[in-house]
Each structure stands twice: as structure tokens, then as C-alpha cells.
Subunit: 119 residues, 2 copies
Amino acid sequence: MSESITPEGRTATEPNEASRPVTLINSFVVPDGRDEVFRQLWTETSRYFRAQPGFVSLRLHRAVTADARYRFVNVAQWASADQYRAPHLTDEFRRLIAQQPWREFPSTPTLYEVVTATG
Amino acid sequence: MSESITPEGRTATEPNEASRPVTLINSFVVPDGRDEVFRQLWTETSRYFRAQPGFVSLRLHRAVTADARYRFVNVAQWASADQYRAPHLTDEFRRLIAQQPWREFPSTPTLYEVVTATG
């Protein structure tokens, strides 16, 4: 940490944990025949997140077989845990998530860091 | 399908489903304090898979917080579902998976295809 007299410079930097890249892995339960409703809702919500600072990338996966517990899984990169969390504290997020159809699709959002990568 | 007189050409091509790229998402339960045992075992097993035809890439993720149901998640790309499945039918695979410590770490291997990608 270099010496500083500016307000920003006098703010302690965040702990490493909160400023390292993170991967959100969010698995969704989607009942049979509800793919279209889910994808419409998810696309609207993801549009909000994609516009936020710190958003890097996402991949939405659909199970190849019908018997998967989690039919859809979103794997998204964020520049930091803090930047991932910030857009979850807004009124806009509450409005998006309060939409009735979301109740059909329970999910398990969890933050991870990559510890091994090959290829 | 073009006409052919070779043995390979006379073999029906696989259905699209089995020959498209797939993503394995495999989430592991790992009890507190057992990270090292898990990672040693996982690394040995993944060495086997990484050497197989059709293996593309993998990323092993560890949860940022301690309360995650699945402490580790492997997200691996394979060129096709068939190439992913083939190495699961060998004696070598059975030997690797029969190792006692694996019983501590239940997992949920599921194949997905990417339906949306951004960034």
C-alpha cells in the first residue's frame, strides 16, 4: 500500500477474498415442460446482471438427460465477490426476483474460486 | 450421409445427441478438514480422464464460503457424450473409483449442453 492523501487512498483496500475473481455456480430445479417459462425469466434477470460492473461472462447449461435434479446450471465469472454481491442489494434485484414465476424454480447460488484448470 | 463402401462408412453415424460437445458438472460433498484427501484422490482420477480421447478441458472449483453444500465442483468439457462415457466402462475406472477414500465424497455427475453463452 503506497502513501496517499486522497479520500480513495485513505480507504483500506478490501481483503483479498473479496477482490479475487469468483465463479457463481447456480443450479435450478425446473419442472417438466417449464423450460420456456424458466428461460424467459432467467434471460430477463440475467440482462440486469450482465450490465453490472464486474460481470465477466456466463454460460447457461441445460441437462442432456431428463432425470437431472438440476435441469439448468448457470456458471458465471465475476471480477470479485464484492462486485457480484453489490447488484443483489438493489430494489431492481428485489423486483426481478419477486416475480411470481420464480417460485417454481428453486436454485442454489454459490460462489467458488478456480483451484485447478486444464485445457 | 454420403455413399460409402468402407467399413467406417457403413457404420451409421451416432445420433446428434451423442456426438455434440457436452459439459460435465460434478459437485462433490467434502467434509470439513478433508480438502487435501479429496484433492489428492480427485487429481489421481482426473489424470486418467484427461488422457482420454474427447477430453477438452476442466476447471475444479472450491467454494469461497464454508457452508456450501458442495465444497468442490468440477466443470469439464468433452467433445461428445459418447467420448465422456467410454472411459467409465473400463477396469481402470472401476479400480480408481473403488478406492476406499472416495466413499467420503458423494458426487452428482451430470451432463449438460451450453444453451446460452455471453462474454
